[in-house]
Symmetry: C2
Subunit: 338 residues, 2 copies
């Protein structure tokens, strides 16, 4: 099969690789009709994370089950399934508490930018859709594997409730999905932080009521202006830099929540940053698995269409151009067709 391998920062290639095989009786093999590039793939692509030799890359996936191991009982060949970017058994205490990304047996997924993928812990990880989805649903279903589930968790972790004023730091695919999630959870006002016109437009289409183009302390001041000096009730931090995290905290009212899902790079908080502001902080790798049944239902009912974050589609063979387009912010998110 064809699959993407990252060799070094800036160097991704499609190669002929061996088809994945069932290695454990709890595995499943799925065939991917679509796959994509994640914002977090840009960290190693840009050299911010190390690349230790050629590495199959990609962790967002949905597709049709081809084969299952002897112990798999909850999905069967022919079904269309979606799973999280971290495989989990869904039976350990952390999974039962809804924190499947902290599963005792968790397995980070990789190699999903490919035609076929082996999914460990298939019973715990995969959720089947009601039927074989029509092609136009595929982009939205694919986002549930990571970016939409992550935006949703950011909103849940920030404590978004009906009627609230919510700010979203970050206008990548996750931030935009965060806007959509906040509105779905009943936020009355959603302030999107974005200086890029196409992203501002999509944010508004996803339900943003205000757009703030400033950054850092100026952005904080704008959010304060928009909230009578009080601060937002909930803020979604969808970037992962120190500036974004501090901007999020300072934009939040006392007792309000920051839900943070950007993988932290250089974020440092002092006790006083949290003590003095009295802001609640909660985040981490989103337990997407918790939200999959609900979000699949919302996509099927047509309530949400997060697949609109894909603004560039390319054949898998052109993956290098896909990474470049996202790196240069020419594309919000790139869909790849194996």
């Amino acid at each position: 099969m064809h699959g993407v391998v990252m060799y070094a920062p800036g160097d991704v290639r499609v190669e002929e690789r061996p088809d994945p095989q069932i290695l454990k009786p709890t595995d499943a093999i799925i065939r991917l009709p679509v796959t994509c590039v994640c914002g977090s793939d840009l960290w190693p692509y840009r050299g911010a994370n190390e690349v230790n030799g050629p590495t199959p890359i990609g962790h967002e996936y949905c597709g049709v089950v081809e084969e299952v191991g002897s112990e798999v009982t909850s999905v069967r060949p022919g079904q269309f399934v979606i799973g999280s970017f971290i495989a989990s058994d869904n039976t350990c205490p952390h999974c039962l508490a809804g924190y499947q990304t902290q599963c005792r047996h968790r397995v980070p997924m990789q190699g999903a930018q490919a035609e076929l993928l082996r999914v460990p812990l298939a019973d715990g990880t995969l959720v089947a859709t009601p039927d074989l989805p029509s092609p136009e649903l595929l982009p939205s279903l694919l986002t549930l594997s990571d970016v939409m589930g992550t935006g949703w968790f950011a909103a849940v972790a920030a404590g978004v409730q009906p009627g609230m004023t919510v700010a979203v730091v970050g206008d990548g695919a996750v931030g935009l999905c965060g806007v959509l999630s906040a509105r779905q959870l009943g936020a009355e006002r959603v302030i999107a932080m974005s200086r890029h016109e196409p992203r501002q437009r999509l944010a508004r289409e996803f339900g943003a009521t205000d757009v703030v183009a400033e950054r850092g302390q100026e952005a904080v001041a704008r959010v304060r202006d928009l909230t009578d000096g009080v601060g937002a009730d909930a803020v979604l931090e969808c970037v992962g830099t120190d500036e974004a995290m501090h901007q999020a905290i300072r934009s939040t009212r006392a007792g309000g929540g920051v839900g943070f899902v950007g993988v932290p790079h250089g974020v440092t908080l002092t006790g006083r940053d949290l003590f003095g502001t009295m802001v609640r902080v909660h985040g981490g790798p989103a337990p997407v698995r918790r939200f999959l049944p609900d979000l699949i239902d919302r996509v099927y009912r047509g309530t949400i269409d997060p697949g609109r974050v894909f603004d560039l589609e390319l054949p898998l063979a052109e993956v290098a151009e896909g990474y470049r387009a996202m790196d240069e912010r020419r594309a919000i998110k790139v869909l790849l067709q194996p």
Copy 2:
């Protein structure tokens, strides 16, 4: 009147000071039958906070209203009242949200180790008891002004719910009140972290089911052992050091909460400390005012007796010995009689 003045680290004196006067129409003057030394008074006493010249000290108080300003309507002379260590108007958006320590017009209290005290924003700050309390209730009512309200907030901020397993880091008066609070809020199991026998005993009397004498990484391992490797559902951080905060976070399960009320001294968290653990963090100067009506009721009904944290009573004139006893951990908390 007599009042305590801190001159420098290690140097506290009782002096003759002018009686406080009504300065604003929203002030009240109260006469204090009891007052006390707070663990946070030890920070400047030990030189960890600067002392800028002679400073009247003390911020925990309850007593009988002597006089009120012309605009005060909710309390009147002769009533027994309790207030928070931070005065607040109780009408601004932060107060209405229950975060009175972030009040737009907040005034930190000082000078409460004295016979008389001026309380600004009396209508917002003071809560009257149902009647003039009997002397044996005074110690418990006094704790509501700070340590008991702070322990309560730590438990609320950590998200304590019925049936939970809760750990408490810190065996000072606040930590002990945190144990009591966690049990009142329905915790099934409360693990007190203490290596001091008299404090261990009081922790058990307040409802601790387990005592862990280890510190740091060993304490974390003990909490994990006691919770099948999962971690506590909620942890109260009642110290304020970097070690205590990290110990609290690492003792908590994914999705569990750390309620932190120790004034941070040197606490630094990286984004990954929070991202990797998925622990919720919430804390700050406790909005004691939010809890006063409920806690007064619990004291009057005899449900709680937090006044037992006072294990040394001294006349105000012997305040220097009171500070020494707390500094040397010979006393948990010192009651002063003006």
